[in-house]
Symmetry: D3
């Protein structure tokens, strides 16, 4: 069932912090008043997380942390791994312990798990759509504020790869930068002087003339923005493998395979993180 | 152009905190290395936020705070108000000041504005779909972790209303609570004793028998879950205005009007906050 | 000995955070310099928390967390439960482990326990004073900044109930709101439109004329402010059970029973949280 | 009207942080729903903080920060200074600006101001009670968790002085330390070696024999705990000015003068910070 | 006087946060008790930051923020720019305003400024030592916990460049990774699959055989660790410009030029951030 | 091997917080991408921290916390104690568990351990240089922002003592304070009134005339600033043991013994915390 091998999870310090904030958001200063009123403190329960749609799982460690943060004694057992495909009915995890803790932690656990799995699932659809081509599907910085690390991890769970993490770890020179710097050469030169040796430089171009201008300078990648498939193919041929090629703009599940078949190396899709619907998962209590 | 009057914005303390965290996420420890390298410190710019699709705006104060937090001297002028409808080409705000600050704050401002406007837009579609009925569209606790306040505000911008804020501010008795408490009467009685006098109590039921049982006790609302339209209509008639009625389950843009026409008072839609695609907005620099 | 059954404790995430802040406040950057200098690292001790006055206990989980946060190996055993009455000499908990950790955590544990138990104790005195009437004693938003969740929990431990948690979870329309809105009808109507369906609405009135005006509109509760007992009784009769009645103003241990005997449903007492003296508890080391 | 000159206020970084937390506590994720619904955004107001009892003011800077944090444009004008005595009717401050901001910030401002002024007022009563003696009234570490800096500042506003700030800034050797160290000499010697040269050492004794033992060693102060007035006078004579003398235990407004008349230098009163009722202040809106 | 043009400062959100924490560290809960006692609240002062040694300045924005955070009205005027060389007597900034605020903020401002300028100064000495060669001086991850952003900025002020920011933004494969992966080829291949396209890959080698093995695979840089100058020169020749070359190990001011003259591209120096003495700067008050 | 007995470690709450921040700094949002890519999740390892230079160890609890915070299952065993001297080759701790966790936590653990041990080592050199005199070596407030508690602890590990912790816990009257107060007598008197009884007062003087003036008033210590050895000896004689004497200014390893031989009680050395190079320690993996 396993599909994508995800190397390394999210740093534990990030998970603990995000889960703690989410619980404070849901519990407020008063806690779960329904459960506290109706469920005896000593009651125990066993419940299972089940998939209700086809998809790819992401966020099991985060869900586990949600329960642990409510009550360290609750036991959360994952039955699949992040990156695994599921179908309706697949049991993805089992949780057991105090009934109050399970009911109180349920929504925070699900909110992370469904959101992250939704991103992994949409990513996988794009990845599947380009199978057999050399193109990789990658994300963008168009993420939900506060959750970028979680969303980029989910993209990896779906078989995608990550573009830069933020403004700080790679250089992407766009139109406004070129204008401000006084031309593409000046911009690339400034970037090269400014960046450390471990920082890659990508330049965004939207036509072949700009691409030719950019390729005269030492860069690592070109972002071929909003080109139609014909021009994109010419651009890829023009690059001829000298730098990494990335396509963006107008990408959806209908267009992505055509784009991939131009031979472009990467296709970046903002929708992976800004518009993925959740994967529907539910928590069912054993009778 | 204005459609929905939104009473009161988000608390300033929440906005400042969320924006500051989002900037730290995007800027890391190194800042915007592309802009710092290529754009002169003294360069200024004027840019406008423009809509690229039909939709409803939400989050202008948050976008303003993003720029203010990068550079207190940048001027952000909203040209519409939260809750206003926009069409492709509508200019929603103008930002002017140091070119570096505008480029550096752009993505965080857009990530909030597009996400929140996406929710407002989807909410408005549901609200429009039930126009003329008495049903109101409401949200759920199925929100993105860390952003619930922002997402519930966006629902209001779209003309929807808010369900409870979290586990702490209202009681919603579900199946598992009833079982654990030993019956619907015991659960309601326990809730009534436990809750303060300003806390409302809602009970979830999924058939008419359960509804009748619940109505024997003093409650404020019933959540009619996953009933088909015929049963739902019977349920609404059975309630006969004594308590608030809420429908949930199987709600989408195709089904929502039929549900509304049963006479139910509220229709809760998890998708408003867990699956809304963004509203596409962009920042364009004046030549 | 147990008196009040408290449903559900404080959320663990709140306790951990508050205790950690309190320890940082007491330990500064240097720690407990007296204990570190004089007590050998390997010394162990057993100590008991004892009551020195009659009262009601609240805060045992918080005291336990204080020691756990200094040293996870210390064992804290509660011997009574939150909500229990104690008399001078009652041993409420036993703590054992490293002598240094016990001495270092003592004051933070006591400061929470004595403060919260003081509130529980004062609440219980009010609750006892109205026994046999139908009035419940409730708190207000006049709490110590940063500790509202803890203080409202302590009120519940004393047998009281909670008014709204903050400005966000219920509507309380006062004079200034009515004036600003242009009359009581306009204010209530605006509130009803603005509030979600799970939010209750209370209106403050200070005479019978205002009460009559308010009752013409759909509200959940009336706050009868600063009425003398005669007027208050008339007000309660006028309401005739249609909405919840709350009395406030001029409430103290001498007046509370008279107020309760008017038949009012709730009596709110700011002093519970803003002026309760501590319950005197001490930590005694076994010889 | 001014009574106590308070040298230096609270650090601004502390005030901003505490006020911001208190506002988040009161506003939650939804803000002031009553005010937002009923008060027009453009309405302005002027209101005054007035005393309703005799007392001493403390916390004006904190109250100012509460409004500034809700809305930077609100103007807060103090009309007295921290440490000033007030009587019923004294106007202590005027606030003007957006009516919404004033109503929303009111409770947080008052909660700080009433709590701190309550402590200042009680302190002043003790200070007045010992006037003419050489005794100073001081506080303890028995403070409300999270508010120690604010409470110790309030004690200074009432004319009192501060004992150590926490476990970290001075040494206070008590019984358990002496036992653990193997005697008073060993404890003092260990403390002297451990403490920096800027750290004072105080030893707690409860009879004259222990006092004599302690005085054989180089210490800065003795805490004469729970001695009756006769013994306390003998203790003060025995010390003969060689070290600072502090009395504690059994101190209340009836006993404090007798204790002061023994000639003791300091009288520490836990009740100043753990059991002071608030000073009743209210916010009145101009018609 | 200006030497190094530093592109872009530190993100404002980082500066505000670090300065606020540093002030809390120095002011504790009580503030500057010496200044509060001895300096009248209304006294004003003008003071200048002066260099007492030759060096390079870094941290002026941070020093400015320290004063602004104590008192927003204080005026801080830089008279040089970060990256400028100074000599004993150079006035680097002037600060004016309330005497209390200047005295209270002085140490935090100086602690940042002297620490950062110390790093910039040491970096500049290394940079000057290799002038005329093609080698650039770069830093490492051996930074002071919590201050990496500030220290890496200071390295840039001294004319150096930055290695990766952390474990997250570039791949550096060391011995243990190669062993764990089962050889250099497997390690590089795993890294290539795992890393996004904007992440560079560097491999550490310590002899020519390992270097040859690494160069067979697609990597961006090699870290030539602990090679003597003769071997290092052979390594550089062997690489022949195909990838970036970095030398590390045994680098000090005596050896760095010899290393640079091998033609290596980068020389990383842990001491820049882990062992730089401060640059001595002082604050002098105008008479 | 043990040299300095360090009474009491750093408060656990401080360690957890600092380590968690440092890990977030090094791991960013993406974690250790090299290790995640190349080291199998199930691989285990054993590694030892070894000294590469002579020095004194400080920070073992902090290093342990770094690994625990990455992975609670990693075992960290200290083999020496803080304050112990080490020589090249001394194994100071052994760490075992998941290879990924050890590699990921390595740098944060080392950055604390090397920095703190560097300070302990430099302190020990000063302490050794004055052995046989009565002078103690003490630190200053010239610490690295955010790490003062850790650095002052390291000074104690090196056999030094601590000056005040911050501006808040002791009074140090300098030139500017005296001028502002209107003379040394006024300054001391103001300080005495302002300070609590547990706060010591030190006055800085730079010549014998000022010293004589200061000694007329009740103070605890004098800071003899920048006096040459001859004058310093006269100053010490003039004080004649009545107050603590501290020398500062012009202190280095060449001058410190001469200064100590004047009989001065304390010698404060800013370089201990602002300019100590690290102690070189490394982590070696068992084959």
């Amino acid at each position: 069932m396993s599909e994508t091998r995800v190397d390394g999870g999210l740093p534990r310090v990030l998970i603990e912090r995000a889960v703690s904030e989410a619980l404070r958001e849901d519990l407020g200063s008063r806690g779960d008043i329904t459960t506290d009123a109706t469920v005896p403190a000593q009651a125990t329960a066993v419940a299972t997380f089940g998939a209700r749609r086809d998809g790819v799982i992401s966020g099991l460690d985060v869900a586990a942390a949600a329960f642990r943060c409510v009550d360290p004694v609750v036991v959360f057992e994952p039955l699949v791994r992040d990156g695994d495909r599921v179908t309706p009915g697949t049991v993805v995890a089992r949780v057991s312990g105090a009934a109050r803790a399970i009911l109180t932690g349920e929504r925070v656990a699900l909110n992370f798990l469904c959101h992250m799995s939704g991103i992994a699932t949409l990513t996988r659809r794009y990845v599947d759509a380009v199978v057999g081509t050399r193109a990789r599907i990658i994300d963008t910085r168009k993420t939900t504020p506060g959750l970028r690390a979680f969303e980029k991890y989910a993209v990896r769970c779906g078989g995608g790869a990550n573009h830069r993490s933020g403004l700080y770890d790679a250089i992407l020179i766009k139109d406004n930068h070129i204008v401000a710097a006084g031309g593409v050469e000046a911009a690339i030169e400034a970037a090269r002087v400014h960046a450390g040796h471990m920082v890659k430089i990508e330049v965004e171009v939207d036509d072949l003339a700009s691409l030719k201008a950019a390729l005269k300078h030492p860069i690592d990648a070109v972002l071929l923005d909003n080109m139609d498939v014909t021009v994109l193919r010419q651009a890829v041929e023009l690059v001829a493998g000298r730098v990494i090629t990335e396509a963006s703009g107008g990408v959806n599940l209908d267009t992505v395979r055509g784009i991939a078949e131009t031979g472009v190396g990467l296709i970046s899709v903002g929708a992976l993180t800004h518009s993925a619907p959740i994967l529907d998962l539910g928590l069912d209590f054993a009778a």
